[in-house]
Symmetry: C2
Subunit: 449 residues, 2 copies
């Protein structure tokens, strides 16, 4: 049996401190890619984008109407209209509309080039058209101001202006801007390759039939989804039984291929907790002469966190790459990912602000259970009333595995002997997934069991 | 010139009414697919999923310790310990641990099978181990209750229970559940194929150099991103100039391949508004004898909405498929998609609740501009204080194209002569994209221009 004292000798740190420790050691992947515009959705920009041109880049009409010389219609109204000869039109996309010389107007469409000579556009509804001897005329019935309904070059966006900062995730608005400026090759951060390795002799492949004492490997799929949602490129690195030499070899392989590796299981203080054993080796190993560089780039960041679930969550740097040892318990694995791995992946992906600030919310129901440690409960937010309220999902034991699908935040229950009461102010970490509504049928069943 | 009266004869309806009109005519795509577990992330389940097995499916230990017969240690404490012979172990994944007969205990790990004979597990920390004449013993120093730390079959989830309802989007929690139950072929709704067709003689390809009066086709990319975010399979159907016969042919082709088609541009009342012309034809066309079926499945749903921007937003059914005519103005195009197209795509995708309810929020700053129609402003929510507050992004003219990237909701400014004041309660439609933070540099520049 392993010496119990060394097994329990871990020193717990706070979750915030643990996250800061990780982020101190993580920089965006230095490799950038240039992607075609249609392939960069969801990626993060690897450089600031400045406007290469003015928008608009020509004098643009704001509506459908007539382009005129404003000084010819400054004071007119319906009792003293001005009549101008229509000398042509400027449709959208027209590159060379006729010039507006004194006494004339040009029919013009929204977004079209305002012709030389004109300095204002008056809307159709404030004019009348008529023909006389085959010649078209327009009667202007409202006063026209200089510049009216004409957007000047650079009025929307001036050339040289920062339009999208580096680190931004490319969504609809960013993609539209890149397209508008003709930026067809987009510099983006490479997605971090994230190895997922599960440990545990109890794990079955998902297609396997059940056997006593065995469970299917659901954490691997949960992490696959979490890594993908955080912008990582999830790589499946297999599952190993609780034997240190196999786990060590699998981790070495995974670290060669990946920018970060996540393991599940084996981090606690049980006899077969292989990950705990590997991390213990790393922690206690003295640098041999000549291994100084390795020692500097390979070390345990923390191996215990003052929180529930997931207190044995461990993180190390191995030759500069983060290795996360998450718990095999699904709830602890989920929480450990959200609190520690996700910010690291966002930082690797180039996000400028990888840590989501906690929000304040009002607790919808009592949470009677006290705890000597901070607890992170899966929970559901409600925004509809104007006050942000939150309801923990994990209070019923039966809902443990079921509740993850409905969670849109983690609710922080601070350590204390008494728990919390309905109406208390609490803090929550939004998850950013699209949670599903909890169907009434599921809630009813949950209440019965 | 086209008859002005018929052009302006559109009847405006409210946005809510327009959305209901669309949703009345849309059903999920009847074609389902079965996807492998690793491919179904982000898709929607096409049937209810019930638990095919109990979880746990065996008597499972809740922690590391000793499996014992509780009646042998009901009343012991550290002054009156009970000593049991350790007859073996049950590690995680162990299928046949030794039986716990009277006077014995089995060392057991978290998640492992509780051996026959035992009905409770006591944690390591409440025991001492020792050896005597080569035989291992454990001293139990705390009272043990029947069933303590043993999860019974079905305790988490009982067989036959609804675990994920049809229509749920598959995220981390859903994927973990499907894996845990060995559901490796997942029935999902097919993604709706959504054609994007842009109209306008002013549109340049994104790689083209600018010319006077021309702009690059940014709406196509914005819509591509919006369709993708809503779960649609965006298909690029090209761009056509403002000529009705070309637009008509392109729409016909697009509708053959796609489940829904979005056009941008040409819906207003200008001379070259081709989409308006096509919709007018459809509206005024009388069913010929023998065309009754066509008339029933092809008609305009609405062609004017009492709102800004995007009042000429139009929708029709063509042989039962939705055709959306969005404005070419980027802000109106964006808003029109979010209000009308997205719910339709969610309904086509099998979402059980395709319309997001509006949230209540508190306005962070004055919005002095009154409007005869409801306005939907791009805006940014702030959750951090516990009260949901919102700030409109579109008040500065310069930020029009820039602000879409920062928007996480649409703020509804109800029609009225006065606008709104800071502190007023307003309603917002959350967009569900991951918005970027507005960098200080961008805000500063915005204030200067």
């Amino acid at each position: 049996m392993i010496d119990r004292k060394s097994r329990f000798a871990r020193k717990a740190i706070k979750a915030d401190e643990a996250r800061q420790l990780i982020l101190q050691h993580i920089r965006p992947k230095p490799i950038h890619e240039e992607l075609a515009l249609e392939d960069c959705l969801g990626r993060r920009l690897a450089q600031d984008i400045y406007a290469p041109e003015d928008v608009p880049h020509f004098r643009r009409s704001g509506l459908d109407g007539y382009a005129v010389r404003s000084q010819e219609a400054l004071t007119c109204d319906h009792t003293r209209p001005v009549t101008l000869r229509i000398v042509g039109e400027s449709a959208a996309g027209c590159e060379e509309p006729p010039e507006v010389v004194p006494g004339t107007a040009v029919r013009i469409m929204t977004g079209a080039l305002v012709p030389d000579g004109a300095d204002a556009v008056i809307m159709f509804e404030q004019t009348d058209e008529f023909e006389q001897a085959g010649v078209p005329w327009v009667r202007i019935k409202h006063a026209v101001c200089p510049g009216q309904n004409v957007a000047l070059p650079g009025e929307d966006i001036s050339k040289g202006r920062l339009i999208i900062p580096s680190g931004s995730r490319i969504g609809p608005g960013q993609l539209a801007l890149l397209a508008a400026f003709g930026i067809t090759q987009v510099p983006v951060y490479s997605r971090p390759r994230v190895g997922i390795l599960t440990t545990g002799s109890e794990l079955l492949a998902v297609q396997a039939a059940l056997a006593p004492g065995k469970v299917r490997n659901s954490n691997a799929y949960m992490l696959f989804a979490q890594v993908s949602a955080a912008g990582g490129d999830a790589r499946w690195c297999g599952s190993v039984p609780d034997r240190p030499e196999e786990a060590r070899a699998a981790i070495d392989r995974a670290l060669k291929d990946c920018d970060a590796v996540i393991t599940t299981g084996g981090v606690s203080v049980g006899d077969y907790d292989v990950m705990a054993e590997l991390f213990r080796e790393l922690r206690t190993k003295q640098a041999e002469p000549g291994e100084q560089a390795l020692a500097r780039s390979s070390f345990v960041l923390f191996d215990k966190i003052a929180m529930r679930p997931g207190s044995p969550t461990t993180a190390a740097l191995i030759r500069g790459k983060p290795l996360f040892g998450l718990s095999g318990n699904p709830a602890a694995c989920f929480v450990g990912f959200e609190l520690f791995v996700k910010p690291a992946l966002l930082a690797l992906s180039g996000a400028s602000n990888p840590v989501e600030e906690l929000w304040e919310a009002v607790l919808e129901e009592d949470y009677p259970k006290g705890s000597p440690h901070d607890r992170y409960e899966r929970a559901k937010l409600n925004f509809r009333s104007g006050t942000l309220t939150v309801r923990p999902l994990g209070q019923s034991k039966s809902s443990m595995m079921l509740s993850i699908q409905h969670a849109d935040c983690l609710l922080l229950i601070p350590s204390g002997p008494r728990g919390l009461q309905q109406g208390d102010k609490v803090r929550v970490l939004p998850l950013g997934y699209e949670p599903t509504a909890i169907p009434e049928a599921v809630r009813m069943e949950g209440d019965q069991t």
